[in-house]
Amino acid sequence: MSKLPTLKSAKRFTGDTLRQYSPRGLLLYVLSLALIPAVVIGLSKGQVMTVIVNASAFTLYCLAAIWLRKGLQAENPSSQDRLQSPSKWPLKLFSAVLVAFTTGMLAVLAAQQGLVMAAIYACGAFLGMYFSYGFDQAKSRQIVGANGYSGDEVRKTLADAFAIIKQIEQANHKISNRELNQRIDNICQIADGIIAELEADPRGIRRARKFLNVYLENVQQVVQGYANTHQQSSSQALEQNFRQALETIESAFQEQQQKLLEEDLFDLDVKIEVLTAQLKREGIL
């Protein structure tokens, strides 16, 4: 019986991935496609005005579609995006206004309708955008400050930590060992969980700050370093060391998560330092 091939580049198909390929808002691109033949016909006939009007309308519709999709994504952000500063602009409203304006302009200049008819078209398009996609809702929930840290400081710390986790995941894709991939995935999931807990209740931010700023970065350096070295040459000793380091990291992360859950005031700083020293001794850091 033939063995199944290993999927080195396989990724977890999460809600974040699905959201990236959501079809919502693609209708604007589809409806504006008819303008491409109009531009081509204008070019072939040498009609400058036809080309300019239709090409401009196509560009504006595409811009409206981009704004709309960004606005839709901002309403239902992915785990990392929700920690970014929320957009100041009402993108869905801008998109609806742009679609209405472009439709009105197209009705007058390209379809040669009267001004009243063009206004009706514009109003219809605006209403259509409103009914289909709605307008921008209230801003995403605020993260409250705690332990002397403002909400923005907490948000920034957590967003930076998320960025490091992404880097660890990217480095993990370069490692072609399923067992190690799984361990690194577990570590990332635990770290994700810790950040989600801190987001919900930032009171533990002071104790977790070192974990987020120093330890996570050390892990990223370890994984990145191994991924680079492993691609050049494979050594059993190095792999064994790396495996042990991952086990240590995983248990430290689980402990950190447990402490946060229990709201234990015991500081993990010392333990973190001991683990960092251990990693250095093993020549991994």
């Binding site: 109009a38 309308a57 040669q112 209403l127 259509g128 955008m129």
Partner: protein, 47 residues
């Protein structure tokens, strides 16, 4: 109004305004519906 009907109405409105103007733009750019020959010339015996 339920979300489904709201979205359906929005879809119809967008299709009938934006879709219609874009299609009209193509038709105005290339009036394909205009016959190349008068209709009576298309009758049998008059080619």
């Amino acid at each position: 109004m339920s979300t489904f009907f709201k979205r359906l109405l929005g879809f119809i409105l967008l299709l009938s305004t934006m879709g219609l103007t874009t299609c009209q733009s193509v038709v105005k750019a290339e009036p394909v519906l205009v016959l190349a020959k008068p209709a009576d010339q298309l009758l049998p015996g008059n080619e």
